[in-house]
């Protein structure tokens, strides 16, 4: 089976470069081109092996990194050639400058995006209600302005409000099965089930009769329980059923 995902955990080559610099604790103002190019190429290569789609921008950046690396690896210029190849040696024309500037500029907005995200989360904790429909209070139609003075934006904005209103008016019960399977709850269920079964259950039995989302939640709950050392997993031999067992008799507080 062909399996591909896009590389969008990184928002483009600049994001990936920032990540590599950060991971290696490297200086944004003095980029070690050779090292970073190697790592960048390695990343691209891994992506190819994993058959992930690589956006063309990543390849363009790879090419410019390689160009930059080769320029910087050129042997020191001979005196007489210097005036021709001056741009390489000139400090003001360090090929890294442009990349550094782009990275710094990009990083500013990446951070600003993070701040927006925080504001978004905060705002999402304030609830309101749809505006009341006051049109029945209008005595007759002529009261609505004779001239139409609206923009496309007004129209879209009205539509957006409608979409939002419809989303909000959906009874909460209808969405329960979709989003609201908290991992914590499933963790408690697993523990309870283990307790009723003397602390052991096969891995596959945990996934009985469950919808897609529930399977995912169950899987995550198992990982979470293992991480918190509340359960363990053993397997007697290759291809045998994995057995999940309870480590301590603990229950999770809600």
């Amino acid at each position: 089976m062909q399996y591909s995902v896009k590389l969008n955990s990184f928002e483009g080559p600049l994001d990936l470069l920032l990540h590599l610099l950060q991971k290696n604790d490297l200086d944004l103002y003095d980029i070690p081109v050779a090292q970073i190019t190697d790592q960048y190429m390695e990343y691209i290569h891994t992506m190819q092996v994993l058959q992930l789609d690589i956006a063309s921008e990543y390849l363009v950046m790879a090419a410019s990194l390689l160009e930059m690396k080769s320029k910087l690896l050129l042997p020191p210029q001979q005196e007489e050639e210097l005036y021709e190849e001056e741009y390489i040696m000139d400090d003001a024309d360090d090929p890294r400058d442009d990349l550094m500037k782009r990275l710094i500029e990009y990083k500013k907005y990446k951070e600003a995006a993070g701040e927006l995200k925080e504001k978004e989360v905060k705002r999402s904790r304030l609830f309101s209600k749809p505006a009341a429909d006051l049109t029945p209070l209008l005595e007759d139609e002529s009261k609505e302005n004779a001239n139409v003075d609206v923009s496309l934006y007004d129209m879209l904005s009205a539509f957006q409000k409608l979409v939002k209103r419809k989303k909000e008016s959906k009874p909460i019960y209808s969405k329960v099965h979709r989003d609201e399977v908290p991992i914590e709850e499933r963790m408690t269920e697993i523990i309870q089930r283990l307790e009723s079964l003397e602390g052991r259950i096969t891995f596959t039995a945990l996934f009985d009769d469950r919808s897609r989302t529930q399977k995912v939640v169950t899987f995550l709950a198992v990982l979470e329980l293992m991480k918190s050392k509340m359960i363990g997993c053993t397997q007697d031999g290759n291809f045998n059923d994995i057995v999940v067992y309870q480590k301590e008799v603990l229950t999770i507080d809600e």
Partner: protein, 192 residues
């Protein structure tokens, strides 16, 4: 939770429930308190709202608590809807126009399905302003009128053709991510 806090949360719950209101049993399940305690606080709140300096009130309709405005202020709400600073085309008309623009040809019943409310009036308003027109009839019984936008609509919004409309507020991106997760999930399921 103190009683005062409970009262505050009840006020908030009544507010977000809007015109649909909220049942005592819903309050119970959200607040995790017994009926009597909740009812006491609702009664206290109801009394407080009765004061002259408050602009909203609790009414009980068929076992539902609903927050509404007070009747003695009705004239001001009328003024609000008639005030020139309020959107020049009503929200209702704009919504209807957007639905027709993006989904044309469309019948009034379908518009009402999307909006969730009767839409005869906004349709008439838009027709009166020549932004929409009858473009055909549904086949079969009833032969409901189908509406579409007019040349005046395009002119008004400075569009060369209907294709120039900006994209609809649908979540293109979210859908795509879901697709990717599906692929991943297939992989994941093979393992279990």
């Amino acid at each position: 939770m103190t009683n005062n806090e409970m009262k505050a949360i009840i006020e908030g719950l009544l507010f977000v429930s809007g015109e649909e209101g909220i049942e005592l049993s819903q309050l119970e399940s959200v607040l995790q308190k017994d009926k009597e305690t909740i009812k006491d606080q609702v009664n206290i709140l109801t009394e407080e709202f009765k004061q002259k300096e408050r602009g909203i009130q609790i009414v009980e309709l068929g076992g539902n608590y609903i927050l509404t405005t007070k009747e003695e202020h009705a004239d001001y709400f009328k003024k609000l809807v008639q005030s020139p600073t309020t959107a020049t085309l009503s929200q209702a008309a704009l919504e209807t126009l957007a639905i027709i623009a993006y989904k044309q040809p469309i019948s009034r019943v379908e518009i009402e399905d999307i909006r969730g409310v009767k839409s005869e009036r906004p349709v008439r308003t838009l027709q009166g302003k020549v932004l929409i027109k009858e473009v055909g009839r549904v086949e079969g019984t009833g032969r409901a009128i189908l509406y579409g936008t007019t040349k005046e609509f395009l002119e008004h919004f400075g569009l060369r053709s209907i294709e120039e409309l900006p994209p609809l507020p649908e979540d293109v991106e979210e859908d795509d991510i879901e697709g990717e997760a599906d692929l991943f999930f297939e992989k994941f399921q093979e393992q279990i």
